[in-house]
Amino acid sequence: MRGVLAAVLVALLSALPALAGVTQVKLKLPLKPRLPLRGNEKIALAPFILATEAEKARDRRLQNVDLQAEFQRFLKKQIEKKTKLEVVELPTDLKLPTQNLSELGRSSEYWRAMGVQTGAEIIVSGSLEFRVEDRSGYKTEEYVSPIDGRTYYRQVYVEQTGFLFDIVFLVFDGNSGEKILQDEFKDFRQTGGRRADELQGLFENLFSLENQILNLFVARDREAERYIFTD
């Protein structure tokens, strides 16, 4: 027994210098904008294809959310607040030439005409998907008994709501109508309890994607962790 203890002690002591000699530091790393812009271009925010349209009939809760309007408002506000781009207004009754994302990316004539008409140098469109998923079921969790202090496992009934948000960005050159960037961002949030508020869920998704979305247009910072040796 004493031999084992001594061996453990020796192992611990020999590991100490290695543990003591390293520390974790935080760095702020710059993220270059995904689009090579001057920074003060005129930008038009065209409508997005709603990929959730078919789901709407099945999920009444999505009817409470005007996804197109909420997303456009969010995007416009972020661009105006955190970039020097000038947002150009588009007609409110603007219709996309197609509801197919690939075809939308190839509709260069349509985008060129929009660029000429509005003076926009870059035009943003794409597709949006937002889903609310109520989930319930049994989950195994650890339980420490207050009587004997031992750990047991028990099955508990859990109710959760999941919010899934998926955006595909298509960015077009307003002069040529050509697609200059396509990028996709996804976010999934889960909250405890059933029937959590869908608008709140939507904005939780959007705020978590804010840095990535803005990084399309402007430089952003990202926090990173690294190890340095101290001796």
Partner: protein
């Protein structure tokens, strides 16, 4: 007796001074000081210290790793890449150096990735 104590005292003082001077020349001292200033976010000073450590001991993987981190924090990514590679070459089994290099490589790849074409820039 007093003379003897004086001689011993002087000798110890001289040895102490010599020792402390010798210590500043050591790579570990530079690493230790550099890491202390790095933790306070003084990355330029840290990079200077780690460079000194690398000069003293070019085969010290830890010094190269720390210099790479300081260069990365200062935005000198190409030099940081070279230093991470050197650190890994010197000690390919160190898990901290490997993790740092993997995370830096992920960042650097996305940083240098060019997308689309310029709509302006003039």
């Amino acid at each position: 007796m007093k003379k003897l104590a004086l001689v011993i005292g002087t000798a110890l003082l001289a040895a102490g001074c010599g020792g402390s001077y010798a210590r500043t020349e050591k790579a570990e001292t530079q690493i230790s000081f550099g890491s202390a200033v790095a933790r306070r976010g003084l990355w330029r000073e840290a990079a200077f210290r780690f460079e000194k450590a690398v000069e003293k001991e070019p085969s010290n993987a830890r010094a190269h790793n720390n210099l790479a981190v300081a260069l990365e924090a200062s935005g000198e990514f190409a030099r940081a890449l070279a230093e991470y590679k050197k650190a890994l070459e010197l000690d390919p089994n160190d898990s901290y150096i490997r993790r740092n290099y993997a995370r830096f490589a992920e960042f650097y790849t996305s940083y240098t990735r060019t997308t689309g074409k310029a709509t302006g820039g003039s």
